[in-house]
């Protein structure tokens, strides 16, 4: 069953306040039960990446510590890593975004999800921003900071 998405607008960007977020990578994390977490790029991550030309993921089954790369993305001829926001075993990748990276831009909280991890037996995620008020405050402050720095449009 596909997860439900309840988008709020925060500082002009869509945000699902019910998800957890890694502030370092702008990846969202959605608990799907049974230790399974789905991961995708949040709207600010999409905005600051630019038009995505390509994404790639490492092989399913790989065990990763938090902060290790689980794939890569390319925008504006700039290749960067996707860094795992949690420790776990990579159990699924979204083939649809491999074929069409624009899905990440068009539907970052839905069809544009990236990968899933099974975190059973791994260390619990510790530094994610979670909870509606905390997510709202963190996202709004980050957008404000980026606007002051001229990184996103007013």
């Amino acid at each position: 069953m596909e997860p439900t998405t309840e988008l709020a607008e925060v500082a002009g960007f869509p945000v699902d306040l019910a998800r957890a977020y890694d502030p370092q990578t702008h990846l969202w994390v959605l608990d799907q039960g049974g230790g399974r977490l789905r991961v995708g790029l949040d709207a600010l991550g999409v905005e600051t990446s630019g038009t995505l030309a390509a994404v790639a993921f490492i092989g399913g089954g790989t065990e990763l510590a938090r902060g290790e790369p689980f794939g890569s993305l390319e925008a504006a001829k700039f290749v960067g890593p996707f860094l795992a926001p949690v420790a776990g075993r990579l159990t699924a990748v979204n083939d649809a975004v491999l074929a069409d990276p624009s899905l990440v831009e068009r539907d970052p909280y839905g069809a544009g999800w990236l990968v899933e991890f099974d975190t059973t037996g791994f260390e619990a995620p510790g530094t994610l921003v979670a909870g509606r008020d905390a997510v709202n405050a963190w996202f709004a402050a980050t957008v404000e900071d980026y606007r002051i720095k001229g990184l996103v449009a007013e």
Binding site: A53, S72, A75
Partner: protein
Amino acid sequence: MCDFGRVSARRSQTLWHALAHGVSAGAPPTLSFMRPARPYVGLGYHRPAAEVDLAWCREAGLPVYRRKAGGGVVYLDDAQLFFQITVPATSLPAARGAALRHLLAPAVAAWRAAGVDARLDPAGEVVVGEIPALGIKVCGHAAAQIGGAVVVVGNLIERFDHDAAARVLALPPDARAEAARLMRRFVAATPADAATFQSAAVAAYGEALGLEVVPGHMSSDERRHLAHLDVHFGTARWLAGPVAGRPLPAARTVKIRAGVFVVTAEAAAARLMAGVVGDKVERAVLSAPEWNGTAGPLAAGLEGLSLSEARSRLAGAGAAGAGLADALAGLRLTAA
């Protein structure tokens, strides 16, 4: 600053990847220069190796190396001076476009100091020429985050072999000829003296980063990593890359510069080749058995249209046109 001078083709890739490893591990920001002693072909990180005419390259003695940075298939030779600026990722703006501009701006200053009226255009290309959005590209650039370091690579083109650059592409002859035609128009060598450019780049990057630039050398850790990369970059697995096994799409592009592409599409026995300049189809060739005698006028009718308009026109041109329109539906004209 590390000036490696003339190095082997493989080393002209592995050296800067090793420097990025070093900066990621705490080495200071590093500006490096090198030129390959022999011609070879470079392949962007996410591009299928099948985009290179590997058989022809093998026969011509041209090695092919994948890089960790983005972009497409490029031809490199000793008439191009390559520079790389490598800095900690934490020192850069969080937006990729802003980070790229930050690290390319000193190179533009160096061109200007060397007498070339270069500028960064809105798409982030280093260009010369009168047309604001479609200047002539004088620097091929790409970037990568490798560990905790970001490296931007670029080149000063003293001479550019447009025919060789087009020949290494795995394209049908008409598409390759179109690529060569557009390269001649939109990619150019500059008259800048390489030594003058290099001195100016050292000064400009030092000023931009607020650092005194001093001659340096690779650390023992970087040398160890270099030895590893020298082997790794020669493996079939590295050449296959992260997209190994993915088929080439039915429609694809070869980017000449931002906004200038050669598009090829196939659907059953139908085929399209188009040169696209500034979102307009400038030249088109169509073929399909069902268009016997009418393909020429149909192709001519695409010229001057945007690619999306051309797609709509094709969608109404029988089964062959509908197939090509479907193939074009998944195409994105990105900066890569």
